[in-house]
Assembly symmetry: C2
Homo-oligomer: 394 residues x 2
């Protein structure tokens, strides 16, 4: 059986994701599509709109064969670490290719860029440091400038969010020395942050979240599969959608009350950013005010949110970074595929957390407990511990 | 000028405290009465009903000459540490005596008991360990049993809460080798925890807090001086009284989200109590449920609350234990006295926190910021930093 891998957040699963899934199957001629999905918290340093279990079910109901969780450590950090964790999992699950959407759309551009950087690691890092010396440069700006200094002919625009992710997938494959092919499709119709969808059936997840938070179900219906719609509506009957606002009092408490030495040893905290965050927390009365007070040219909103999330989740520099495969959902095909390859998987595989090695999953269990502090999710504090993967049988 | 010291919490200041204050002045013939008062959090592991600034003003308005704060580290720990911190401060402020209320009422009984224990430290500790080996014994029970094994003729009942505190004052004076006399009065009419006052003007602070939380101002009026009543009413116009319930979501978050290694290195955490607290936090939906689930014969409610408070305030075993004198309020006499002795005070003295050595007061500033997480106190998050001591001039 031929497998391809996709790397997703599905926050929530929508028609654009469906197109991506169908293209993945078509272009790679895969029998099995495996999605590595972030859990309760996402790569931009935000909580997911709804729990991973509902999101995994959306994915399987829409045709994904296997949904596995990207552990918190990888899921909530910068693109390079995010990509490394996802590629390691997909390789362990035996995919021949990774398929992603990008602004560029040409797989060769990504392979070339990855190759240049892997071969010129030392001059790249030197250029990176030089651009970062200018305090006005954000990491993203410095990074893009350093790459284009090394490879002036590069056709890949690395200021585009999906190109960046795709590049990191290619880079992770090269660095880990994996025999995984890259396949990509040009994203159409909905740029990542588009607030106003123009296409008749495809909108960005950002736009759909806005519709959902505004209870505009009539509009939502237009942009998500029926299976997603039903799950969203069912969730919404008894719960609220989750946002950073739900965690603001806890973040403020943590920033104000934790000893400064503890903030400093939090993963991702450097350059004295802890002081900036702490000062902002003292004066802000909600998360938006906090963000507005902390943002600078140097620190993008995403970087601030990621750092705030590491502090909220009390991730220290010594928190485990071990990777593993946590099953969240499976189609019949996914189950059959898993049965075939099970004996040859290089990473620990976890079906139900209560039966897993506690040390291995402790950090993700903590993260899901934290997620349950969102109002209306109180009863889910132990859900992650006892829930079995969603199985869709015909 | 002759000074006497009293050690108080004033939660809130009531007629019994007034009697104690007047007796202190009379019996010790002091010109100056100095009160060392706990700040935002108290020795039984609870937040104070209202901020230290209002409580200090109540004290000065009722006749105390000097109110200084017992730093968080001392104020929120077991009686021995509490007493050590308070005695050190009072000695630095030049008191000739310490005056306290007790069930016993005989100063000699306290001095004798302290002497026995100081002289027989090794056999006492051995006896203590022996009694603690029986897991059914609480610390208080083991401690009382060990003392009476060493001193069978002791007339001091060390199961009584005020006798225990008085004993620790005497013990701290002996251990620190201070030339401070002990004076005591027998407490009358209101045992510490009496819920139903019988005396016409004296009720326990516990009973008064119940009246206050029930908004029974007519009854409160009977048991507190007018100056207290006015301050309580003024506070209540724009704020709520503070209780553990206000901090429950933060405590739960901290118990659930902090790495277990961090909980273990919290001051006062031992014998695996962190697991018991963590488990209880997962299932409890309010602080009372949490307390009910954690209490055992071994762990009294007070011990659990003190431990929970150390976790909430993120106090590690390495948090500073340095003592200092923080001025909260002064009468004219108190100001004159302070002016005279100022040059000979062995501890750092702090009038306004914003002008103090930040490292010295950091822990108490954090505690007061934490206190401001109580609803209606949000605006007071920086109050401790900028407030000057209350001065009562004629």
């Amino acid at each position: 059986m031929k497998a391809t891998g996709i790397i997703v957040e599905y926050n929530p699963f929508h028609n654009g994701h469906l197109l991506h899934l169908q293209e993945a199957r078509k272009q790679t001629q895969a029998d099995v599509v495996i999605a590595v999905m972030s859990g309760s918290f996402l790569q931009r340093g935000e909580p997911a709109l709804l729990p991973k279990w509902e999101r995994a079910q959306m994915a399987v109901d829409a045709g994904v064969d296997l949904v596995v969780e990207l552990p918190f450590h990888f899921a909530t950090q910068q693109a390079a670490i995010f990509a490394n964790g996802a590629v390691e999992i997909l390789d362990a699950l035996g995919v021949q290719s990774i398929f992603f959407g990008s602004e560029n759309g040409d797989a060769n551009a990504f392979s070339s860029a990855a190759k240049i950087l892997t071969e010129q690691d030392v001059p790249f890092k030197a250029a990176m440091r030089r651009f970062l010396d200018d305090k006005k440069n954000s990491y993203a700006t410095a990074w893009n400038a350093a790459i284009h200094e090394l490879a002036p002919d590069l056709t890949l625009d690395l200021a585009q969010p999906n190109n960046i992710l795709g590049f990191h997938y290619a880079r992770a494959i090269a660095e880990q020395g994996k025999a995984i092919e890259i396949a990509t499709m040009a994203r159409q119709n909905a740029a990542y942050h588009d607030e106003n969808p123009t296409h008749h059936s495809i909108a960005s997840a950002t736009a759909i979240r806005t519709m959902l938070l505004g209870n505009d179900w009539k509009k939502v219906r237009q942009y998500v599969p029926d299976t997603t719609l039903r799950l969203l509506q069912k969730f919404r009957e008894t719960h609220s959608f989750v946002s950073w606002d739900d965690f603001w009092p806890l973040l403020k408490y943590q920033l104000v009350t934790a000893p400064i030495s503890q903030l400093q040893s939090t993963r991702g905290v450097s350059e004295g950013i802890e002081n900036r965050l702490q000062q902002a927390a003292l004066h802000a009365t909600n998360f938006d005010e906090f963000l507005a007070a902390t943002r600078t040219k140097r620190y993008s909103n995403a970087r601030i949110k990621r750092t705030a999330l590491q502090i909220l989740a009390q991730q220290s520099e010594t928190t485990t970074t071990q990777n593993y495969i946590r099953l969240l959902g499976m189609s019949t095909t996914g189950q059959r595929y898993l049965g075939r390859i099970k004996k040859n998987i290089a990473l620990p595989i976890i079906s139900t957390a209560s039966k897993a090695n506690p040390a291995l999953i402790e950090n993700d269990i903590r993260a899901t407990k934290l997620y349950s502090f969102a109002p209306t999710l109180e009863n889910q504090i132990l859900r992650d511990f006892h829930t079995s993967p969603y199985r869709k049988n015909p």
